[in-house]
């Protein structure tokens, strides 16, 4: 088996990470099975797949919101897989996460400026005055008026709220921002504006993104590299050009062919797709077969079929 990892000096490296969740009864959901990936400094790695493919679980494993059953998670070469919450605290400054629904991520009764400053308070990263000044800078950085710091979440539009969540994620100068469907709930014009902001911030701050999304057109726009997940495993990994222009795995091809293209001249009379994704739930003691990967060209890794 060829390793799913490429290059050296990764910001994050995960090695054969697995996670199962119990269901009622004796069955288990095999959410993530033996996934290995690297996220390099300053790059965007997108993870795409359909509902239940394990992409959000993978994000939560990397940032240690879930504990992995097996495998290793390395942050800048250091093994963080089994660190306790106190030991993790210092590493959380390096990794921050943004979720899909900003309204659910912000406390409705707390002024947004206070929410943005909270990470600095928790990590004792700044004095009160310095935190206030930093919050002001963060608001400007994400394109919000600093005067809005005293408002409550309900006084903002959806796009503005997501900017607040991005500001909070940046408060501690992280190196990795995990964006879990961070633009999926936004209207298309707002989505484009927030994506442009994320690209600008990456340029200015040298951020790495782990960009979790179900939307391939969005991913094509924002990613340097792409991992396609299916039933808890990575079926294809490569540069954006490799995966989008030269897809090798049948699932990647199927996924790409299903995306509606916003151009009536490209309307296709493609054959009616049939079939649904099998269940990731297995009886106790059973589980999916771990798939082997081959490197079809440098950096382009495909699951054997």
């Amino acid at each position: 088996m060829t390793s799913l990892v490429t290059g050296q000096d990764a910001l994050v490296e995960i090695q054969r990470v697995s996670k199962k969740f119990p269901t009622d009864g004796k069955a288990q959901v095999h959410a993530v099975t033996e996934v290995s990936l690297k996220i390099e400094h300053g790059e965007t790695l997108a993870v795409v797949g359909e509902s239940g493919c394990g992409k959000s679980t993978l994000a939560n494993l990397i940032i240690r919101l879930h504990d992995a059953d097996n495998g290793k998670i390395l942050l800048k070469g250091q093994d963080i897989t089994n660190l306790n919450p106190r030991e993790m605290l210092v590493h959380r400054q390096t990794m921050q996460i943004i979720f899909q629904d900003p309204l659910a991520s912000l406390d409705p009764r707390v002024r947004v400026g206070t929410s943005v400053a909270e990470p600095m308070r928790v990590h004792k990263a700044a004095t009160k005055e310095a935190a206030l000044e930093r919050t002001r800078q963060l608001f400007e950085l994400v394109g919000l008026q600093p005067a809005m710091m005293n408002n409550y979440p309900h006084q903002f539009s959806g796009g503005q709220r997501q900017r607040v969540c991005i500001a909070r994620a940046l408060a501690l100068n992280p190196e990795l921002v995990i964006a879990d469907e961070a633009v999926s709930a936004l209207d298309v014009s707002v989505q484009a504006q927030v994506m442009n902001l994320m690209l600008k911030l990456q340029q200015e701050l040298g951020l790495s993104y782990l960009f979790i999304s179900h939307d391939l057109a969005v991913v094509e726009r924002i990613a340097h590299r792409v991992a396609v997940m299916y039933l808890g495993q990575v079926v294809e990994l490569g540069s954006r050009e490799q995966v989008f222009r030269d897809p090798q795995h049948s699932y990647t091809k199927r996924l790409l062919s299903a995306v509606p293209i916003a151009d009536p001249r490209q309307r296709t009379s493609r054959p009616l797709l049939t079939g649904e994704i099998p269940s990731p739930v297995w009886p106790a003691g059973e589980g999916p077969e771990v798939i082997n990967h081959v490197e079809v060209e440098p950096g382009h890794i495909v699951a054997e079929e």
């Binding site: 965007t44 359909e50 509902s51 959806g158 209207d187 298309v188 014009s189 989505q191 484009a192 504006q193 994506m195 442009n196 690209l199 600008k200 990456q202 179900h214 939307d215 391939l216 057109a217 969005v218 094509e220 726009r221 924002i222 990613a223 340097h224 954006r240 050009e241 989008f244 222009r245 199927r254 996924l255 790409l256 062919s257 299903a258 995306v259 509606p260 293209i261 916003a262 151009d263 009536p264 001249r265 490209q266 309307r267 493609r270 009616l272 797709l273 049939t274 649904e276 994704i277």
Partner: protein, 282 residues
């Protein structure tokens, strides 16, 4: 003459005008796409055509006409009809499907029974005949293992299968217009492709006209013949799908299109690229 002509439709919620002087037509057998962002008034427009908007809300249709061409050739202004008349029109002439099939289906009845119920109410068929129709509808919407599936409850089906059931209920009385409000928005992309393909196929087979409401320009480009673009309660532009996507005349439409990520548009680009936003979005 058009199957449906909406003229100067205006709907208010107290002081707020949710739909402002909207006019459009749907021709027999065609697909009219209504596209817009959240709050643009597209769903209120659809619910007003069905005369469902005033039920349990403070909404008032304050102006306009919704003319439906009846099978006998005369045209009926739906805004002037009483509820019993509207009940005979819903399902028989105009049917509607929604985004989330799980909230539209009754959780405690088998899905086949729910199709049969619609047929019994609208066409007065016997129980046995209605169940036979339900079975035919299952085949029409290509639900595999129909014998087994027809007795299942909604929670036993996947999202895609549930939406097929909703389409079956919508089409079971042979309406001439199907209003589909974000019918694939809650579905995964491969399932969305299946449902869109099915809808297109069924239109060819049955000749049903469709009003497709969506925020997704990709879905519009795939399915619609003509497009109405809504923004802030008003129609900003309408035209053929070709005109809207390739020769948009309004700044709002151009802005909207500039924000849409288009699969394949990044070929040959080195790294990620920001959107070149137009129409005041930048």
């Amino acid at each position: 003459m058009a199957l449906l002509s909406v003229k100067d439709l205006t709907v208010t919620f107290d002081d707020f005008t949710a739909v402002n002087s909207v006019s459009f037509e749907v021709e027999p057998g065609e697909t009219l796409g209504i596209v817009g962002e959240s709050g643009s008034g597209k769903s209120v427009t659809a619910l007003s055509v069905m005369r469902l908007i005033e039920m349990g809300t403070r909404a008032k249709i304050t102006r306009g006409q919704v003319l439906l061409e009846m099978p006998d050739g005369h045209s009926l202004d739906l805004l002037g009809q009483d509820e019993p008349t509207m009940r005979s029109i819903r399902g028989n002439q105009i049917a509607m499907i929604f985004q989330e099939p799980l909230t539209s289906l009754n959780p405690v009845y088998p899905v086949g029974e729910q199709i049969a119920e619609a047929v019994r109410i609208h066409e007065g068929l016997s129980r046995k005949a209605s169940l036979i129709r339900a079975r035919e509808m299952f085949d029409l919407v290509r639900i595999p293992e129909a014998e087994k599936r027809i007795g299942q409850y909604p929670h036993e089906m996947s999202g895609g299968m549930r939406q097929r059931v909703m389409i079956a209920i919508g089409l079971c009385c042979g309406p001439r217009l199907l209003i589909a409000d974000e019918p694939t928005t809650a579905l995964d992309v491969t399932i969305q492709a299946q449902i869109l393909g099915l809808i297109k196929q069924l239109q060819l087979e049955t000749g049903t006209a469709m009003m497709l409401i969506t925020h997704d320009m990709g879905v519009i480009a795939e399915v619609a013949d003509r497009v109405v673009v809504m923004n802030q309660s008003e129609i900003v532009e309408h035209g053929s799908v070709e005109q809207i996507f390739h020769y948009p005349s309004e700044p709002y439409t151009r802005g909207l299109l500039s924000a849409v990520p288009k699969l394949g548009s990044m070929t040959g680009q080195d790294g990620p690229q920001p959107f070149d936003l137009a129409g005041g979005l930048a």
